[in-house]
Symmetry: C2
Subunit: 220 residues, 2 copies
């Protein structure tokens, strides 16, 4: 079956909200999509009719397994395009999302599988988020926030908590990118700031807020 752009945006938004919320509400989804609760209710009826969501009025909703499958297809397209834009077209990391937001709706299966192959079957997008394979499977990340990292253990930056240009600017200035190896030397109790060290460069300090938005994995 084939879905409209609007339907796809709803499905993807529900999928993302389900990841971090126990129950996804009408208001939450309306807010996420910059739309009105009444519009969400309308769309939920459509998605229910297509068996993409479980939905009983006044009692919440969630994606069916078919709905999740569709969502992963959209996310696959989105993240492959993001990878293409960053890797091949040299877009900055904060520019790729909006463009991928449109490209993700071009739904030729063959296009996406060929793109995947052309890109060398990348495992993560420019923000460190995993890319589902053509079966819809993707790595479940073992990443933790840098604020939770043990002292003096080397770890590698594997992703970010948000993709704003503000965060990108800061990371550029501090020379941190995905793949950077670093360790936490000290945690200051006063403001939870961290002293970190990258290889043999001089140590420097980062804020708690930044640390929480840096996802790291322990060195393999």
């Amino acid at each position: 079956m084939n879905f409209s752009v609007a339907e796809e945006n709803y499905i993807k938004a529900i999928w993302h909200l389900q990841r971090y919320n126990d129950d996804v509400t009408t208001n939450l989804l309306a807010n996420q999509l910059n739309t009105r609760p009444a519009s969400v209710t309308d769309m939920l009826k459509k998605l229910k009719a297509k068996k993409l969501v479980h939905y009983e009025k006044y009692h919440g909703f969630s994606l069916t397994s078919e709905g999740k499958k569709i969502a992963l297809g959209i996310i696959r397209r989105h993240r492959l395009w993001e990878f293409f834009l960053a890797e091949k077209l040299k877009f900055d990391w904060d520019e790729v999302h909006d463009i991928a937001e449109d490209l993700e709706h071009v739904s030729s299966k063959k296009l996406i599988d060929k793109l995947d192959e052309y890109l060398g079957f990348p495992k993560v997008d420019p923000h460190g988020d995993p890319i589902p394979d053509n079966q819809g499977k993707m790595e479940t990340s073992s990443a933790i926030g840098l604020d939770e990292l043990e002292i003096n253990k080397v770890a590698e930056v594997s992703g970010v908590g948000n993709q704003s240009s503000e965060l990108l600017e800061l990371l550029k200035h501090k020379n941190i990118r995905i793949g950077t190896k670093l360790e936490v030397k000290k945690r200051f109790e006063f403001d939870q700031s961290l002293e970190i060290k990258i290889r043999n460069l001089p140590a420097f300090t980062i804020s708690e807020q930044l640390a929480k938005n840096l996802l790291v994995k322990y060195g393999k």
Copy 2:
């Protein structure tokens, strides 16, 4: 200003019809877009309000210069994506059009200019059609049909009259592609078939219909 997918498809269709028809009619456009004449009339009113077409009811229509500019932008996107699909993703020539039909509507200017650069500023798409540059300018082809080529003059295949998989199949079988150098040795009056020769390979015969769909340029 920003245009809907429907508006863009109408603009592009009018542009293409204007190339080969003295006056573009409501019925002709309806036929081209697989829609109804009444729908065309509706859309013409919208496009006139946006100053993209000149239109007086019952008296025909044509693109304004602004309309042509928009059309060339869409055609630029379409052909750059076709080039990308054929060149980078190794799609066959008869598969690229339908996918580009969707991709052309992703209208980020920066995306297209970066894609153009990445592809090395190609001048023609996989069917030999010229790609407008970022100013909307493109080569005006001096190509003629192979059926009009003089006997014993070497020419180079520069494009095709249609992009069907049937034509592609035939050309593959005969080892003819864009760039192939050939000459016409003989024209048979009975059925207007042509004996042609490629380099030092044995000569062979092609139908009038095929000849008319092969565009060639005299050797530079």
